[in-house]
Symmetry: C2
Amino acid sequence: MSVYEKIFAILNKLDIEALIYIGGNDSMDTIKKLSDYAILTGSEIRFIGCPKTIDNDLALTDHTPGYGSAAKYIGTSVKEIVRDSLCLKYEKGLVTIIEIMGRNAGWLTGASVLAKGEDCTGPDMIYLPELSFDIKKFKEKVKKLLAKKGSVVVAVSEGIKTADGKYVCELGNSTDFVDAFGHKQLTGTASYLAGFIAAELGCKTRAIELSTLQRAASHLSSRVDILEAYQVGGAAVKAADEGDSGKMVVLVRHSDDPYQCGTEVKDVHKIANDEKLVPRNWLNSEGDYVTEDFVTYVRPLIQGDVAPIMVDGIPRHLYKPGK
Amino acid sequence: MSVYEKIFAILNKLDIEALIYIGGNDSMDTIKKLSDYAILTGSEIRFIGCPKTIDNDLALTDHTPGYGSAAKYIGTSVKEIVRDSLCLKYEKGLVTIIEIMGRNAGWLTGASVLAKGEDCTGPDMIYLPELSFDIKKFKEKVKKLLAKKGSVVVAVSEGIKTADGKYVCELGNSTDFVDAFGHKQLTGTASYLAGFIAAELGCKTRAIELSTLQRAASHLSSRVDILEAYQVGGAAVKAADEGDSGKMVVLVRHSDDPYQCGTEVKDVHKIANDEKLVPRNWLNSEGDYVTEDFVTYVRPLIQGDVAPIMVDGIPRHLYKPGK
């Protein structure tokens, strides 16, 4: 029995009329395959995709639920790191490299620009994986900045690559670079660049990975993001109820200011199963910062707060262990 | 001119009658020296110490302002990491090691216990630097836990050492462990242990450093902590105004429940200039978790919230660049 036969046997046994699948590119591909199989076999089960990924790399939709909250966390955390980096003085300066998620798309790293405001200079440089990374130019720029200010903060995507297609995090990975257990060590992009800058410029450096908290820090959600998650969910149920199949719900932005965004239903077959990248013209010509277009795009998505329900000083989660 | 002569010349020139110095052990040591020098030279300038350190390792005082907010951030973040770790399934399980600040004192790492509640199992193990770390026992315990559950989360202080006094983060630091620039690489405790467990048990592992955000994440402050910061500041001004010198303000806890805490003024010479450690009986007999006494101590310090003032979706900071 093929995996499709198994799935449909289960769905039929449970009398399921519609399946709504929530996720990113892979999930939409699944909806495509299942809805195609339903047509081939004459099944009446409907398959609807519903967007959700912090990566924001899904095509057809203006953005994906999850991204706004992750962007809000990243903007807030980068701002706090910039603030912290001003507290200590080092003779040759301090360079802080912040590593943010994103193998191929720089949506999350670009959101570090949100740290910038009247009360914060924000990161000094932002490098996305959409463009190749020139480590020499990077060093020169850091050097120039250190001559003017005591603290330089750089946001980099984990997936930045050099012009020859090598991940920066692999550059330090020579045969010498083996851990105590004989395994090649993937040191991370920020860690590599911090070591590189310390060695080249003799300044103090720090590497910070925002880690899984950038997708898990629910205590700092965006209200717009949470509301839109309900909105796409509702639209998916409505589409299934109206008999749609092989479709996905998308968010369509009508205006930036005031921010207005609605849902539509599109053919999931229109997704070419590759990641939506940050447009080239949303990065400056040097490729080391995002433009005002990026800010205009992301700013509405982080608006409003969702105060967590605090229990004994800590946010409550909607989860019971063992259930 | 000695450094003391310089300091007093400046203070006299500016007509300063009292100096209040805010900080931890080193700052209190400075107050001790300056107040002694004032007595020796017949200066009437008063010197008062005011406690402030997220490390909470200052003697004489029940706790230090800064600790409560850091503890709240750590409890919240560890809870979010535990939650995140339940979302992905790995055949041989997932072990997440979270590295928390503390070279010698485990106050911050112990606060990871705050993640535990009705809606979260919290970390499975907590290792403080007060006790030596037995890596074999650690491995056995992880193995036993993996047989029962798919995700194991461990909180470790950056400063944990083996019985022979070696930092765990130095264990992987063999001559092979040199970065691309020929420098010895301090890989970090979590990163070492994650590599060790992956190699020994074949499971998926993750290393997470809470980084400088544990001291900088002002968006998640404890109201009790902020109020007490004002309280010790006020008490320091009052002490100086009443003619005290060579004294420090301390927090004195009168009861845990209801939490009641006031200030007193103590002779700064009573501080032996070494860090206050977590008492042995606030750790269990195996030394891999904190006891209910620790929770009773820390829980009141994280109560209440301070909603950040949000500007365009991001917390405002009380700082203007260039000023």
